[in-house]
């Protein structure tokens, strides 16, 4: 019987081929018509250490990490031990005996010994072992050999003829070597006609980057920090093409102050940062609040405190984003779950920042940034850069007190007026003041925007039956894991409510919760930050929390098990 959902884990040292094999396999599988998903976990070092990538391939859409390993491809010594907890009797370890060793972890699983390196050397160079591995996995899945050959040709196109030829030979040799072994049970259901054709294969950083460009972002100042850097490099790569000024600042303080300066001058500015880098920006967040200058902050979370686990994931900075900056001023916090969310929300973030003149956060995390899968092309017809900048008159005043708190925003050099902004409390013109009655009017004006912007809150997504008894609430990057887990539970009384905007909280939250007999919040931190936010703003405490904070994202199985335990009447 053919399988329809396989998980393949590649594990090895940094720089030892995991990335190449992953790249080749995901593209090959997508071109073959399958849906693919991949995510990686890696150590904070440039070389060495053990990293792993989990690939999923299916005829169904797949977009979440699973703990289960159907095939493990160890590419360096120590790889088997690195993922030993994930080995089960159903796991097939495919690789060279020399690399996998014969540790106790292999005792309960099936081993297919394919000497990648030896075969590569026979063809001419040990470097071809990556192509042998790709061929071997393709063979195990029962893909068409011609398709494998075509893709390897395409991938190496432009290289020296002998290198192209040898890699093709290597992939074919790997494919055939597996064919002689007992692997029929690994074969995957042939790809359907529609499959992943025409769909995009991209990761969270790319989705956010494309969304930023669609939102009219034309200024990026940031300081490199994992895992947020991927958005910075994406914007740098496409900066000239789309008219984006991209600058690596000397520190995060400079980065956000530059972004605010650019925003003041009429640019649509983005900073991308993580953890401690964002902590350094917090005075700048407060400045944006006071100047009422739009700025978009992409905060890719990683575990703290301090340096924490630099390359791992967590949803631990929600409260930091919520309270960052001294003083009281409104803000918006968005948290994409799907890649489509990443694109649409990044795009909207720039319009919202411009419309309400507030800092807008896009809260992602390492798991979201580094995971990719095939997604339908983003709907560009929904995107629009709605500009709110006005041409100033001679007597222009930047901070005219209005009902909704929003004052028409001019920029220097556009019109006859002068644009005066001050981090001190200021009068309507923008000049420094210590008039305490005016202070109260200005505070009220700024806070009025907080009420106004609730008109544009992105609603949560309810997946599952309307007449649910159990409501599983989550936010940001846990979307797919929770969604798949609930589908797997197969209960017709359980639904998921996913928040893409976590602040301000959607005003129907209490109503959604009141309809449930039991509410459960799933989030990747130790203290239930979103559950606390809900209790504070919707007035309803959650019944149960499912939390994870070891630096890894939730697997589907973990959510299934967690929900089973918490939904106690499960049959």
């Amino acid at each position: 019987m053919h399988r329809d959902d396989l998980s393949i884990v590649l594990c090895g040292q940094a720089g030892q081929g995991v990335q190449t094999v992953e790249f080749l396999l995901t593209r090959l599988l997508k071109l073959a018509g399958y849906h693919v998903f991949a995510t990686k976990e890696y150590m904070s070092r440039v070389r060495g250490g053990l990293n792993s990538t989990t690939l999923r391939v299916s005829n169904r859409e797949v977009a979440a990490y699973v703990h289960r390993m159907d095939i493990l491809v160890p590419l360096s010594a120590g790889a088997v031990e690195h993922v030993a907890k994930r080995i089960s009797h159903g796991t097939v370890v495919l690789g060279e005996r020399q690399v996998m060793g014969d540790g106790p972890a292999l005792a309960s699983c099936r081993v297919l010994d394919v000497p990648f390196t030896k075969m590569a050397q026979e063809i001419g160079n040990a470097l071809y072992s990556n192509s042998v591995a790709v061929g071997a996995v393709a063979g195990a899945l029962g893909l068409d050999l011609q398709r494998v050959t075509d893709y390897v040709l395409r991938f190496f196109a432009g290289k020296q003829a002998s290198i192209v030829e040898d890699n093709v030979k290597a992939a074919q040799a790997g494919y055939k070597a597996v064919g002689s072994l007992d692997v029929d049970d690994l074969a995957i259901e042939p790809a359907g006609d529609v499959g992943a054709k025409g769909r995009l294969l991209l990761d969270g950083a790319e989705a956010v980057g494309l969304g930023a460009i669609a939102g009219g972002c034309n200024f990026v100042s940031s300081y490199p920090m994992s895992p947020s850097t991927a958005v910075l490099t994406f914007m740098a790569r496409h900066g000239d093409e789309f008219g984006v000024v991209v600058e690596q600042a000397e520190d995060e303080i400079a980065a956000i102050n530059m972004a605010i300066g650019a925003g003041y001058a009429g640019a649509r500015a983005l900073v991308t940062t993580s953890g401690g880098g964002f902590a350094l920006m917090t005075e700048g967040v407060s400045l944006a609040g006071m100047l009422e200058t739009p700025v978009v902050i992409h905060l890719a979370q990683r575990p703290g405190p301090a340096t924490g686990l630099p390359t791992r994931t967590e949803q631990g900075d929600l409260e930091l984003a919520l309270y960052a900056g001294h003083g009281e001023f409104p803000r918006i916090i968005l948290a994409p779950g799907t890649l489509e969310d990443g694109f649409q929300l990044a795009q909207q973030a720039f319009n919202l920042a411009d419309k309400y003149q507030v800092p807008v956060f896009i809260l992602t995390d390492q798991y979201y940034i580094d995971s990719y899968y095939d997604a339908p092309p983003f709907d560009l017809s929904k995107t629009a850069v709605v500009k709110h900048v006005v041409k100033t008159e001679k007597d222009y005043r930047r901070y005219v007190v209005t009902q909704d708190g929003v004052s028409a925003r001019g920029v220097p050099g556009f019109g006859e007026g002068l644009v005066v902004v001050d981090s001190d409390e200021h009068d309507e013109e923008g000049h420094i003041t210590e008039d305490l009655d005016l202070r109260v009017r200005m505070v009220n004006k700024r806070l009025a925007k907080g009420a106004s912007l609730t008109m544009d809150v992105v609603p949560p997504v309810l997946v599952g039956p309307d007449n649910y008894k159990n409501l599983v609430i989550c936010w940001g990057s846990t979307y797919h894991a929770v969604n798949e887990a609930i589908a797997e539970l197969g209960r017709n009384d359980t639904a998921m409510l996913h928040y893409r905007q976590v602040y301000p909280l959607h005003d129907r939250t209490a109503e959604y919760m009141a309809r449930a007999e039991r509410t459960l919040v799933v989030e990747g931190n130790a203290t239930g930050q979103f559950a606390k936010l809900i209790e504070l703003h919707a007035g309803v405490p959650a019944d149960e929390l499912l939390l994870k904070y070891n630096g890894m994202n939730f697997s589907v199985e973990e959510v299934v098990d967690g929900l089973k335990a918490l939904i106690k009447d499960v049959v």
């Binding site: 303080i253 003041y264 560009l380």
Partner: protein
């Protein structure tokens, strides 16, 4: 053009009577007028401190940001709209202390902005503590045994970083200060103008008289394009040389090195997203499959 064009009618000036900031403000307005700068094309950027209040007293666009953070927004404002004249002006504590890292990297980045620093060698707004340029032995309510930290030498640091324009003025010499301001503003690239200035309230050592006696103007024998000679001048501490000390005028300004202005001179706020190009980029992720 009349310097009155830059007067603020109802500004409530927060400086002490006799403050060295007054002649600087007057010289600045005169310099701007003589350069015929349109107030609607001029952005005054500052941080926090007494000197940092100067933008409020000049009729122009104002960005009065955070303490120490004038240079990053000034750089970005120029990069977002290169047509604007941008002056970042604050005191020595703001620019050299709290903002020291930005000072270093702004020089390296070389945006076409003018950086005017009111250098009175003391903190005024926080009431008389040492600043990075306070002399050794200078006693304050915090430095009770006198300053023991080596005074920061902004000119030497700037020359070491190959700043494109480095000059020093003496606030009480309004005419010369105005001329140096005109040169700094007219210079294409980052221009540092450090202005020696008495603080009549908190610095009883570096008075008007003291600066008069301990400074001299460079004459034609100094070649500001000679970096070693400039460094030598910058390291002189008694008497302190005044005038244009160093010039490295051939560096391209930061904003000119950004690809975005290569074919399109328009400021960023006038531009639209190229959706066709975006569609093309997005489709590239489909790998034609």
């Amino acid at each position: 053009m009349d310097a009155k064009a830059f007067d603020m009618e109802k500004a409530d000036v927060a400086w002490c009577p006799g403050c060295g900031n007054f002649p600087i403000l007057k010289a600045l307005k005169e310099a701007l007028a003589e350069l015929d700068i349109d107030p609607t094309q001029l952005v005054m950027v500052s941080g926090i401190g007494q000197a940092a209040k100067i933008p409020h007293y000049v009729r122009a666009h104002v960005f009065n940001g955070l303490h120490g953070r004038a240079l990053p927004p000034a750089t970005a404002i120029k990069a977002a709209n290169p047509r604007l004249t941008v002056i970042a002006e604050s005191g020595d504590g703001d620019m050299y202390g709290e903002g020291g890292n930005h000072f270093i990297h702004c020089i390296r980045r070389n945006p076409d902005i003018t950086n005017i620093v009111h250098d009175n060698r003391v903190y005024g707004l926080t009431k008389g503590q040492a600043s990075p340029t306070s002399p050794l032995g200078f006693k304050t309510s915090v430095q009770v045994h006198g300053v023991s930290l080596e005074p920061f030498n902004p000119l030497a640091v700037a020359i070491a970083l190959d700043a494109s324009f480095v000059a020093r003025a003496n606030a009480q010499d309004r005419e010369q200060t105005k001329d140096l301001m005109k040169k700094a503003i007219g210079h294409k690239g980052y221009a540092l103008l450090d202005i020696l200035q008495p603080c009549v309230t908190y610095n009883k050592l570096n008075t008007y008289q003291w600066f008069k006696e301990h400074t001299y103007y460079l004459d034609g024998s100094h070649d500001p394009r000679d970096r070693m000679a400039a460094m030598q001048k910058a390291l002189e501490t008694d008497r302190l040389p005044l005038g244009v000390i160093y010039l490295s005028p051939t560096k391209p300004p930061f904003e000119d090195t950004r690809g975005v202005y290569r074919e399109d001179p328009r400021p960023l706020h006038e531009r639209q997203v190229d959706l066709d190009r975006l569609r093309h980029l997005m489709t590239s992720f489909a790998m034609n499959a």
